[in-house]
Amino acid sequence: MISQQLNDTITRIGPKTEAGTVLRCYWHPAALVEELESQFPIPVNLLGERLALMLDDAGDLRLMTRISEIGEPPVFYPDATEIKIEVTGPTYPVMVKKGIAFAYLGDGEAPEFPNFDCFRADDTHVFAFKGLWECNWLQALEIGIDPAHASFLHRFLKDDDQGSNYGKQFRDKVAQTSIPMTQVLREYPRPDINVEETDYGLKITALRHMDNGQTHVRITNQIFPEAICIPMSREMTITQWHVPIDDENCYWFTLFTSFKEPVNKELMRAQRLKEHELPTYAPLKNRENSYGYDPQEQADETYTGMGMDINVHDQWAVEGMGRIQNRTREHLGRSDKAIIRYRRILRQAIDAMGAGNRNALPMQDGEKIQTIIGPLSNDAVAPTENWSGASHQADLERRAACPWDASV
């Protein structure tokens, strides 16, 4: 339980707000490159600002301020012909990386991009997509740094065969075993969670000690301020930003990064287009249709009764908290330790910006940023007495077999 005042401080991100000032020190996904195929200008709603992507005289992308009408919906997506640019308004630099146009809305120099796997992999090995969640960005992020919830929210009461699960989270077999991931999550619901502060944010290790002297090791990451990097399957990782549209809505932007084989982008895109409507990328399952909830399915097949797509489960959990989670009514447990550590970093960053000390924030020290690689993001099964070394070794083997430079 935190005070309303503190909740406002850490959630609200408009211009001149405290958390907004911290977020504006970083690049944020503004649009998918596939959105740029339509006519310019292209509407962008980001960090409480109404913007549009334009091509400047040199042919470079630039984000400019768009004249907005009172009462526009938060994810308003007008046709190019209806967009009027506020010529005296702020404009921002844009950089395209792997299928996403990133924008920098802050003061001063934009920082370098860190050398994460999702940025250094070949274009053939990275696929980008996005989706709308109708809630504040922080609760969207916090579910991604909560290793305990997967054993409940994403519990499947039956394990299906793993044949048709390409491109889906938690539907693979674990590491080099024949155990479905769904079974591990279901049978070991109380992970030991270790959290370490790193130069990019947090490294989160969830250990599920199994009966046979083996431990399931799942390593995920928080990338400051609003991204996560997690394993999706043996072949792919997910790097996902929870980007504020305004205080009450956000987009998830994901770079799916494949180690060995090129990504089947057509299949990945078709899977996701079936669940979303364009041009807003709003999910077809939502609050209005109870997320497709089926009580019989909840009794027999899934914990939520909302189908097999775990993204829908997450969306229900975070949207059900209300547009901005009322943290004066929350009761975190010790299993929420990564959330607690994250908020500590965020509050320290807010204090540092208040004191004019931007360099105290993660990934703001120019020389070091490009030396940040990885991060290690992996599921492995290892002997309990040597889980750390074995998990690291499994990641190194995967990286060594990879056609792009994935060395760490």
Partner: protein, 133 residues
């Protein structure tokens, strides 16, 4: 017993203090006996447990605020699908299965309960003074 395909619509009730008839008994005769109730603006969830008794408790899980209308009716109570926190019909938390072994935290967590009973073919709730503001 009526089959159902989703969550029953929210019932909105505004009433003075004292015992108030909120529903006909038949309204809960559904496969999954749970109905969202908004009582004088307070968002609650009404459910029947395996002993056949009624619970009328706050709708947002006290952990991280998930919507308990989508909870699982099991083990004689209501379980939040987010992290498995389990509540009995009085609103007392009886289990936090993801918390570290031996954690006593669940004992200190109790969702507010509105007294509820069945008579004359109806379901009645008792509203205190504070419930009407």
């Amino acid at each position: 017993m009526t089959q159902q395909t989703s969550i029953p619509a929210e019932e909105f009730i505004d009433a003075p203090t004292g015992w108030v008839r909120i529903l006909d008994r038949e309204a809960l005769e559904i496969v999954r006996p749970l109905i969202p109730i908004v009582l004088n603006g307070q968002r609650l969830v009404l459910f029947r447990d395996e002993e056949g008794e009624l619970g009328l408790i706050g709708r947002n899980c006290p952990h991280r605020g998930a919507d308990l209308c989508y909870g699982r009716l099991e083990n004689n109570g209501l379980r939040c699908p987010f992290h498995g926190w389990h509540f009995d019909r009085t609103g007392q938390c009886v289990e936090q299965p993801a918390e570290p072994e031996g954690s006593p935290m669940y004992k200190a967590i109790k969702v507010p309960m509105t007294p509820v009973e069945e008579r004359d073919g109806g379901i009645w709730a008792f509203l205190k003074d504070g419930d009407t503001t």
